[in-house]
């Protein structure tokens, strides 16, 4: 939970990451801004292909350089721009100050090394003067904190001897072993069963409250976000379409996409109403060939004809903390100015033909 | 969806599917056996949807495959249209297969990447046509028109019929799979987690499609999922499975308003609900420990290790099904005093 006056840990402005492929340039992330305060849990929600994982990897500078590249933007972490520091300094940040948990715990742990080796390696990489014994005892402490029974013995096991949920806990323990300020969790529970998911989410919440670690939780599950996050960003086709505190976004979703998402999830507690589920028409967009201007307009049930397909929608603050990018909230002035511009562009294109 | 005096279209009685693990090097005394499905029974009535829900490893996929006879059941009966599919001849199984079709989970792996959409959907028709098992012999033109009809019915543009599966998105591929399952006009469709691999917005489209098709064609669904909200939405009746056994079965509305078995309760409380207020007010029952593996032999209740309300009796005796309400059965020793034994147990 956040304090109104807690300071900003991470401030992302205008981040753009593009991938060069055989079929064209993929604009995986196309200009996003968000901030994370100390102790806050931010949820980034979106479907597959919207760019949430790429955002994540861009912040940590883990994008493979061919074919991807962060072409623009600023990632201010505790005063330094992460996109501009050297690789060596970045290594100091990764794992130490910002740590990540990945989706598939099976593949993120090295199957050839014991857990102890991997955890000790993490600690000693960042704190050079810690002895092996001390690193070991700290690791055992962390494992106990995350709730692994018999931690003293089990630390010497190999990853395949743990179940999926246990492995994810080990990952969390590793991520927290250096007292990071920010934890980025990339779909941590998608591969897990519901009951195990509940356990892991409870654990992340504990970490957030007790150790005051800020958490960025990336997921496509709206239920998880509702239970865990303070603020929510909704992404679509590489752009953030709505940003708001959780309560507001679920009660008063402003963007038609958010609205559609929330309504298309079947609700267990409202078992009486069994009409047709609201569904967003169409398919997720083809990332190479995005629809012009607002990427959601072909599927939008509230699209304004002639406007959404020709002009980029403006960003508006509905409240002090509720932001939405949609023409539904544009002023008439903005609309007419944008239409004029679009007409001018079209005329010049036809003239040049 | 009333089934008062109807006969069930599909009856499963005491189905068991055990996979032997071959012992390595002869060092083990006894060959271990994985009890994927360990004695389940249920009935499906025509025109309704039965949902089977459970976590991974509980045996739901194996159940469905055993019913479709893709995996040979170790024992038990699967009675469809009066015949036991486990004991029937090859020819009769082929005839029965016309009426039981499957939709698979992974839209990427369930379509042959080297066949066009048209060939994929037409394949069941071609197979049965060649063996002269269709009610009417179909000419190639008739097959072609039927393929186009099916594509339109599931919401695919028929101009795409010469394309390959990898050119479609996940939701569209699942539609192709549904079209293929409908090709032979089956009566029962076994759906093995058809929406688990899809995005939320596409999931809603497919669920709507399935409901429409059920209304239009009078289909019976056996729907497997691990997402409780989806099961609740689409099913009339629900069975909850745990480690190869059914622990509770009831009508879906009843299950969510009045769960009885401790596992069901835990499952329902663990599933997240997309409403922050409701989430905040909930008290979660967090189960301790991991999902155990299905190769251990159980003397007592399978859920004993993780149950928050265990009793001594549970350790050594497997609980039978008790009737808690109309169409609501549960297998738990706690109910022994108050409720009578279920019909099937007597």
């Amino acid at each position: 939970m956040i304090d109104k006056n807690s300071k900003v840990i991470l401030d992302v402005k205008g981040l753009k990451t593009y991938f060069k492929t055989d079929a064209g340039i993929v604009k995986a992330v196309d200009g996003i801004d968000f901030t994370v305060h100390q102790g806050e849990t931010l949820g980034i929600v979106g479907e597959s292909g919207c760019g949430k994982s790429v955002t994540n990897l861009s912040v940590m500078r883990l994008i493979q350089s061919p074919p991807g590249k962060t072409v623009a933007g600023e990632v201010m972490f505790q005063g330094t721009d992460l996109l501009k520091i050297s690789e060596a300094e970045m290594r100091n940040v990764r794992g130490n100050k910002i740590s990540m948990i990945f989706q598939d715990p099976m593949t993120s742990l090295n199957p050839f090394l014991k857990i102890s080796t991997q955890m000790i390696e993490t600690i000693r990489l960042h704190e050079k003067n810690v002895s092996k014994a001390e690193a070991l005892s700290r690791s055992i402490e962390m494992l106990k904190k995350v709730g692994i029974p018999g931690a003293e013995k089990r630390i010497f096991c190999y990853p395949h001897q743990f179940s999926g949920g246990m492995r994810q806990r080990v990952m969390i323990a590793m991520a927290l072993s250096c007292n990071a300020n920010l934890l980025i969790a990339d779909e941590p529970t998608t591969a897990l069963d519901v009951t195990i998911q509940a356990q892991i989410l409870e654990l992340i919440q504990k970490v957030n409250v007790e150790m005051k670690t800020a958490v960025i939780l990336i997921t496509h599950d709206l239920g998880v976000v509702a239970g865990m996050c303070d603020n929510v960003c909704v992404m679509y086709a590489g752009k953030i379409v709505e940003k708001a505190p959780t309560d507001k976004i679920y009660k008063f979703p402003a963007h038609p996409y958010t609205e559609g998402l929330i309504q298309s999830v079947p609700r267990m507690d409202k078992s009486g109403e069994k009409g047709k589920l609201f569904s967003i028409e169409g398919q997720p967009p083809n990332v190479i060939d995005l629809p012009p201007c607002c990427a959601f307009h072909p599927r939008c049930h509230k699209a304004i004809e002639g406007l959404c397909s020709r002009c980029n929608p403006p960003t508006h603050m509905l409240d002090e903390d509720h932001e939405v990018t949609c023409w539904l909230y544009g002023t008439d002035q903005e609309k007419s100015a944008a239409l004029k511009e679009a007409d001018a562009r079209q005329a010049s294109k036809e003239a040049s033909k | 969806m009333s089934e008062s005096v109807k006969k069930p279209i599909l009856e499963v009685k005491d189905l068991k599917v055990h996979f032997p693990i071959k012992s390595s090097g002869g060092l083990r005394k006894k060959d271990a056996v994985i009890r994927a499905v360990d004695g389940i029974s249920f009935d499906v009535y025509p025109g309704e949807t039965l949902g089977i829900v459970g976590e991974s490893g509980c045996g739901k996929s194996t159940t469905v495959r055993a019913i479709a006879q893709l995996t040979k059941p170790t024992s038990g009966q699967v009675i469809f249209q009066g015949k036991d599919l486990c004991k029937v001849s090859k020819h009769e199984l082929l005839m029965a297969r016309q009426n039981i079709q499957m939709i698979f989970q992974d839209p990427y792996a369930s379509l042959d990447p080297r066949m066009t959409v048209r060939s994929i959907i037409a394949e069941p028709l071609i197979i049965y046509n060649k063996r002269h098992l269709l009610p009417k012999e179909l000419s190639p033109l008739e097959i072609e028109t039927r393929v186009e009809d099916l594509m339109e019915r599931v919401g695919l543009n028929k101009a795409f019929k010469n394309r390959y599966p990898h050119e479609f998105s996940g939701g569209q591929r699942q539609r192709i799979g549904i079209a293929r399952a409908l090709a032979l006009n089956p009566e029962v469709i076994l759906a093995d987690e058809p929406v688990s691999a899809l995005d939320v917005s596409i999931q809603a489209q497919i669920l709507n499609l399935l409901r429409e098709l059920q209304k239009e064609l009078g289909l019976t669904f056996l729907f497997i999922a691990h997402d409780l909200a989806v099961i609740q939405y689409i099913s009339d009746k629900v069975c909850v499975m745990y480690l190869g056994k059914i622990v509770e079965t009831s009508e879906s509305v009843e299950l969510y308003s009045n769960p009885v078995h401790p596992y069901t309760k835990a499952l329902l409380s663990a599933a997240p609900i997309p409403d922050p207020e409701v989430e905040r007010k909930r008290r979660r029952i967090i189960l301790t420990g991991d999902v155990p593996s299905p190769d251990k032999e159980h003397v007592g209740c399978y859920f004993y290790d993780r149950c928050p309300n265990k009793m001594d009796k549970c350790k050594n005796h497997i609980p039978p099904m008790f009737t808690v309400g109309p169409h609501h059965n549960c297998a738990c020793w706690q109910l022994e005093e108050k409720f009578p034994l279920a019909e099937s147990e007597k």
Binding site: - | F104, D112, R131
Partner: protein, 555 residues
């Protein structure tokens, strides 16, 4: 339904299908105007292949070879029938004709001999140099030097031919200028009664006898028949003698064997032999007559342009096409071999055979391998066990030895060669296909096919094998060079392709004798073969990369 009605319905259906398919073939946009790219997996693979330059070059070279091999008949190269033994061992040259080369060789020989005899004036150092070369066995250098020195001296007038040398020289010059090669083909006889023309082979025995008699200048037909009979008898006798060359036969034994042979052939058989003998003799007569005629025309001074093609008639009724060319005006671009055969045409015809062996061998091994592999992979259990043990046993046998033994037992014709090579070459492909099928067997679409009632064979050949196609294609392009190499090895040992057929391997094998004196016989076939093998290998590598990436991740 009556036949005509059914037929009409079929046509109508086909038209309707065509309409339906046409509607589906146009590039479609999905419902939101986002274009859906239409690419099959093969098109994607082709796109990736195009980017790999080495593979594309390899593919072009392979296609070039294939085209040349197919069109070998119509290319302007010297065919096998026109072998001129005088032209043996001529070095390759683009500009000099055979005659000039033969002349040069003759002169070099003469000059070398005269150096030996001391008639060529050389300095002491040059003498020592020449002797040095001889000890080093560098005869080519000796001859070249002598030739140049001799020509220089002859032009300067300080060297004169001896009488015998002059005679040889003149004779050679004469033959170079005047020797002609005459080829006769399309020999047809025109029946004077109805004017129809027939090929000689299609005529009956009596007509042939009368033609032959006329061609010989009007001899009595009975004499002709007797001579043909005797001719056939001696043919059969020679055959019998070669068949029984180990045992000692008396004259009576031979006679009885010949009689037995004739009985087994029967009257028709004997007559057929006589017919073919007659045809051959007539052809030879025509050829000799034409040669004489053309030579006379040259002597008489009529200008004849060579090469000379015409249609002529001889002996009143026989039409034929004649081609005459100055024998020694040929140009051998790549030189000749020990029998005067043009190396270029041998390489091309040999290439045909080598490539054919590669392809046929690969296809056979693919066929057997795919069937065995898919049976083992799909059915598993005992079938798999026994097939794999069989494969293991065959793997253990030494491959080359098996092939050699096979060829030695069954004879060395080309069919046996194919059989021997394909016999144990299917093992690797069987294993690969089995592995691929076992991994694909558990995919969901196979389960889906089973749930639709598909039987084992349908699943194997409609689903599993097409999905293993990438592995199979890559393997087969890499196997073709292997086969060619194996066949070369066999030919080198003398067990492969037999003369007069050539293959690259046999060409290289034959050229090992006299490798230093006539290096072109080794170098050119080797270059051609190596180029082909490299290209196939690059192409195969490129194919493997093209088929490798997961098609799931395609955009």
């Amino acid at each position: 339904m009556k036949f005509t009605d059914r037929f009409k319905k079929q046509i109508h259906d086909r038209e309707e299908m065509h309409k339906l398919n046409k509607a589906g073939r146009n590039g479609a946009k999905n419902e939101f105007n986002q274009t859906v790219q239409g690419n099959s997996l093969s098109k994607d693979a082709w796109r990736r292949l195009r980017k790999n330059k080495a593979a594309v070059v390899g593919m072009c070279v392979v296609i070039l070879y294939a085209i040349i091999s197919l069109c070998a008949g119509i290319l302007p190269i010297y065919s096998y029938e026109e072998i001129i033994i005088d032209h043996q061992y001529l070095p390759p040259s683009l500009t000099k004709t055979a005659g000039e080369l033969m002349l040069k060789r003759q002169l070099s020989e003469m000059y070398a001999t005269s150096w030996r005899q001391g008639r060529l004036s050389v300095t002491e150092e040059e003498d020592a140099m020449l002797n040095n070369w001889i000890t080093l066995d560098d005869t080519n250098k000796v001859w070249n030097w002598c030739y140049e020195e001799g020509e220089k001296q002859r032009a300067a007038g300080t060297y004169v031919f001896s009488a015998s040398e002059q005679k040889k020289y003149d004779r050679l010059q004469d033959s170079i200028k005047n020797d002609i090669q005459v080829t006769i083909n399309s020999v047809r006889w025109v029946n004077p009664e109805n004017g129809k023309s027939y090929k000689l082979d299609n005529l009956d025995y009596d007509t042939l006898v009368s033609i032959y008699a006329k061609a010989l200048g009007g001899i009595d037909e009975q004499k002709v028949r007797t001579s043909l009979e005797t001719g056939v008898n001696s043919q059969i006798q020679t055959e019998v003698k070669t068949k029984n060359s180990e045992s000692e036969l008396t004259a009576e034994d031979i006679q009885s064997l010949v009689a037995m042979e004739k009985d087994s052939l029967g009257e028709d058989g004997v007559q057929a032999k006589e017919k073919s003998l007659a045809v051959d003799n007539i052809n030879v007569l025509i050829q000799n007559a034409m040669t004489k005629q053309i030579k006379q025309e040259i002597k008489a001074g009529t200008n004849k342009e060579f090469p000379y093609k015409d249609t002529e008639t001889l002996f009143d009724d026989i039409n034929f096409k004649v081609e005459a060319s100055l024998k020694n005006s040929r140009r051998y671009i790549l030189g000749t071999d020990n029998l005067g055969r043009d190396l270029l045409s041998r390489i091309i015809y040999g290439g045909r055979i080598s490539i054919l062996i590669g392809i046929v061998g690969t296809i056979t091994s693919l066929f057997i391998g795919i069937i065995m592999g898919s049976l083992a992979g799909y059915f598993g259990g005992r079938v798999d066990y026994y097939i794999m043990r069989f494969v293991d046993v065959l793997y253990g046998l030494p491959y080359m030895l098996l092939v050699i033994i096979c060829m030695a037992i069954f004879g060395t014709n080309i069919l046996n060669l194919f059989f021997a090579l394909a016999m144990v070459s299917w093992l690797t492909i069987a294993r690969m296909v089995r592995g691929q099928i076992m991994s694909l067997k558990n995919q969901e679409y196979i389960e889906a096919a089973r749930s639709m009632g598909a039987g084992g064979w349908r699943i194997i050949f409609r689903h599993l094998v097409p999905n293993s196609l990438s592995v199979i294609i890559v393997y087969s392009t890499l196997r073709v060079p292997e086969f060619i190499m194996q066949e070369s090895f066999l030919s080198f040992l003398g067990l492969g392709v037999q003369a007069p057929l050539a293959s690259w391997g046999s060409l290289i094998g034959d050229s090992t004798q006299g490798m230093t004196k006539y290096p072109w016989r080794l170098v050119y076939p080797a270059i051609v073969m190596t180029l082909f093998l490299f290209s196939m290998n690059f192409f195969g590598d490129g194919l493997r990369d093209a088929f490798d990436p997961q098609s799931k991740n395609m955009l």
